[in-house]
């Protein structure tokens, strides 16, 4: 173990004990809205350290999981075009669209390539001028600046056979939608660490101002998440605070915000499970419309088809825990997933599946 890990490990029992004491007999439902938090909580088995009164639910924090079926079908339709090289992050490859997955399409001859950054896709376009390289852009404010930078690179270098299918979304809006819907009583939020690095924590002030709900921006180690929960439980009145002080400020990363504003503009977006949320998505701004895959390629994604019995939508809204879905663990497993929440490594169902109760 590294020294850093050792120090973290040492804090965990103390934080868990403090959390139990601070919570007392009270009940809380806290929601995290970041795929990396979902993974960290599962990876460290953190729910095992929580007192019985604290319920931790996953919200719409996994970019793949919240991509709506029509968008997934559009990605597939573009991948099927013979001139298109579809570049994507790895976790989109196995997600079930209405009738197929990118992995299945690739085996059938579609040119689907996994990249680790959008710049790799630009490089592919530069290296293969006869291909039309489409980058499937998913992700929140953390990813959007890198896609914007890649697009600017393509523009500067005259890589015209590159385009972006923007399915990007922004974080504050779905939290507002969740609270407006009022389906779950959320006591407070563990706010997304990486998104907040970009946006700054001030964008979440509306939670307190408009809804009287607090939030803490947490880092990703077990001591960070427990520390954030402790801070939430201890809040005398709702507020937004930062636990992840080594990376997050109230104002965020101005340069990244500027580059997003330069290349993208807000638009309405459909979220799986949450429906249409106004001004919650990002599309290419008019100056960069030439790189918009949606206008460059006329594809018909067909009628979207939600898999029968899939409760991903309710899972994403924190209404049900994954085991409450009838398909969980039986018809829907990481090996043969039905919904996105099970196939994505940051998905709530996948995290639950891995962290199943070992006793009995």
């Amino acid at each position: 173990m590294t020294e850093k890990d050792r120090q973290a490990a040492a804090q965990v029992p103390r934080l868990a004990a403090a959390l139990a004491e601070a919570a007392g007999n009270r009940s809380f439902t806290f929601m995290e809205v970041c795929g990396t938090h979902t993974m960290a909580i599962a990876r460290y088995g953190l729910r095992q350290l929580l007192p019985p009164g604290i319920r931790l639910v996953s919200g719409p924090g996994c970019p793949v999981c919240v991509t709506a079926m029509p968008d997934l079908d559009t990605v597939v339709a573009m991948a099927r075009l013979p001139e298109v090289t579809l570049c994507t992050f790895g976790d989109l490859v196995r997600v079930p669209a209405s009738h197929t997955t990118l992995a299945v399409e690739r085996a059938a001859g579609a040119d689907v390539r996994v990249v680790y950054s959008a710049l790799d896709a630009v490089q592919i376009a530069a290296d293969e001028p006869r291909r039309q390289v489409v980058f499937a852009g998913i992700g929140f404010e953390t990813t959007a600046p890198t896609i914007a930078a890649a697009l600017l690179t393509a523009w500067e270098q005259g890589v015209v056979n590159f385009s972006v299918l923007s399915m990007h979304k922004t974080m504050p809006a779905p939290l507002r939608a969740l609270l407006d819907a009022g389906e779950t009583q959320i006591s407070g939020f563990i706010l997304p660490g990486h998104v907040s690095v970009i946006t700054g924590s001030d964008v979440f002030n509306f939670l307190v101002d408009d809804y009287g709900v607090g939030g803490v921006v947490a880092g990703f180690g077990p001591q960070d998440v427990l520390g954030a929960l402790l801070a939430l439980v201890r809040q005398q009145r709702p507020q937004i605070s930062i636990e992840y002080t080594r990376a997050v400020t109230s104002q965020g990363n101005r340069v990244a915000q500027q580059i997003i504003a330069q290349v993208f503009e807000p638009c309405d977006a459909e979220w799986r499970g949450l429906g249409m949320i106004p001004e919650s998505g990002l599309r290419l701004s008019p100056a960069y419309a030439g790189f918009d895959a949606r206008t460059r390629f006329a594809v018909d994604p067909g009628e979207p088809r939600e898999p029968a019995g899939c409760r991903c939508g309710e899972v994403l809204r924190g209404l049900v825990d994954p085991p409450e879905c009838a398909l969980f663990g039986s018809n829907c497993t990481p090996e043969e997933p039905i919904g996105a929440c099970m196939v994505s490594s940051e998905g709530s169902c996948a995290a639950y599946y891995r962290y199943q109760d070992l006793e009995g």
């Binding site: 890990d5 490990a9 965990v12 599962a42 088995g45 350290l49 196995r94 680790y116 070992l358």
Partner: protein, 337 residues
């Protein structure tokens, strides 16, 4: 020999073919059985049980820090034999070569095979060569088949595993995958990554000498990594396995790469490591024997077999919590071995 590249004619069975076999393969592997160039190698029977295994190798790139497809093809088959507690007796090697492959590269890879075979004290006694058109085979595919002599009388398999048995691991995990990934050039790493690709028979032999009938189960964690081996073990033995996360050695550069790319070292392929399940009465001795061997210097006791949660593998984290280790899904890193 015409020119410096492999031609289609080299796979034809005629004179060009015989020249290639003699000048490249026989020259590199040099042993009396091979030099007879019979279609089938005649070997003396060891008398007891024999083990037979085969492996195809399609790794990309062909050469990577710490190894190459040649070394891999010999090590992989020797190690599969070792999991059956079998001393390697002889290897066969079939080559599928892409037209245009540089002969100098082929010679270099065969030299690597020969060196590895010598380390493992096993001759390459027969083989086959096919050449396919330019654009196919991605350079070179090698399939090796090995026959070995099983040196124990007791059953070494999941069926022999019992509650309370110790789970040992011969060294750090993730090294091979990390090195191959770095060699693909998609990333620009400044990390000292080396494949662990190596033949492990002498390591296993030492463990068997120390543990005797207490050595219950042997498996090398190749594709699918440590997690796959443990998950399959739990499933086959109908018992649970509990692993201490902190006890599993992961080298700092591998850990760094995994953190960066979001990989779990537990599911990455290894080509020079062995998982051993040993009765508790002999676990310390076997561990000491592993550590005395150059390839087992970082050997560790990583967990135990349990009757709790049968067919499931539990990982105890450094924070005292537990989570299930499941079989990895899909293809994590293609063409890794």
């Amino acid at each position: 020999m015409t020119g410096d590249r492999v031609l289609i004619g080299h796979g034809s069975g005629g004179k060009l073919y015989r020249d290639l076999v003699r000048d490249v393969f026989v020259a590199a592997f040099a042993n009396p059985v091979l030099e007879r160039l019979d279609d089938a190698a005649a070997l003396a029977s060891p008398g007891g049980r024999i083990a037979l295994t085969t492996d195809a190798h399609v790794v990309q790139p062909l050469e990577f820090p710490g190894g190459d497809i040649g070394r891999l093809s010999v090590s992989g088959t020797v190690n599969d034999l070792a999991t059956a507690a079998a001393r390697p007796l002889a290897l066969a090697a079939a080559f599928i070569i892409e037209e245009g492959f540089l002969l100098a590269d082929l010679r270099r890879l065969c030299a690597s095979m020969a060196r590895t075979a010598e380390e493992a004290c096993v001759p390459i006694v027969t083989g086959d060569t096919k050449v396919v058109q330019r654009g196919l085979a991605d350079g070179l595919y090698i399939t090796t088949t090995g026959v070995g002599e099983i040196v124990v009388d007791h059953d070494v398999s999941a069926a022999a595993v019992r509650e309370g048995d110790a789970v040992l691991l011969s060294g750090s995990i993730g090294d091979h995958s990390a090195a191959v990934l770095a060699a693909r050039g998609e990333f620009h790493f400044d990390l000292a990554l080396q494949s662990d690709c190596a033949p492990l028979w002498s390591l296993v032999e030492g463990a068997l000498a120390a543990g005797g009938t207490a050595v219950r189960f042997l498996r090398d964690p190749t594709r699918g990594g440590l997690t796959s081996v443990l998950a399959e073990l739990a499933e086959s033995a109908d018992l649970g396995v509990e692993i201490e996360e902190e006890a599993v050695p992961v080298s700092p550069p591998v850990r760094a790469l995994c953190e960066l790319l979001g990989y779990d070292p537990f599911v990455l392929a290894n080509e020079g490591k062995m998982v051993l399940v040993v009765g508790p009465e002999k676990a310390d001795e076997v561990l000491a024997a592993l550590r005395r061997h150059p390839l087992g210097a970082q050997a560790a006791r990583i967990g135990a077999v349990t009757s709790a949660h049968p067919r499931r593998v539990a990982l105890r984290t450094a924070f005292g919590t537990r989570r299930v280790l499941d079989m990895p899904i899909g293809e994590l890193l293609p063409r890794i071995c």
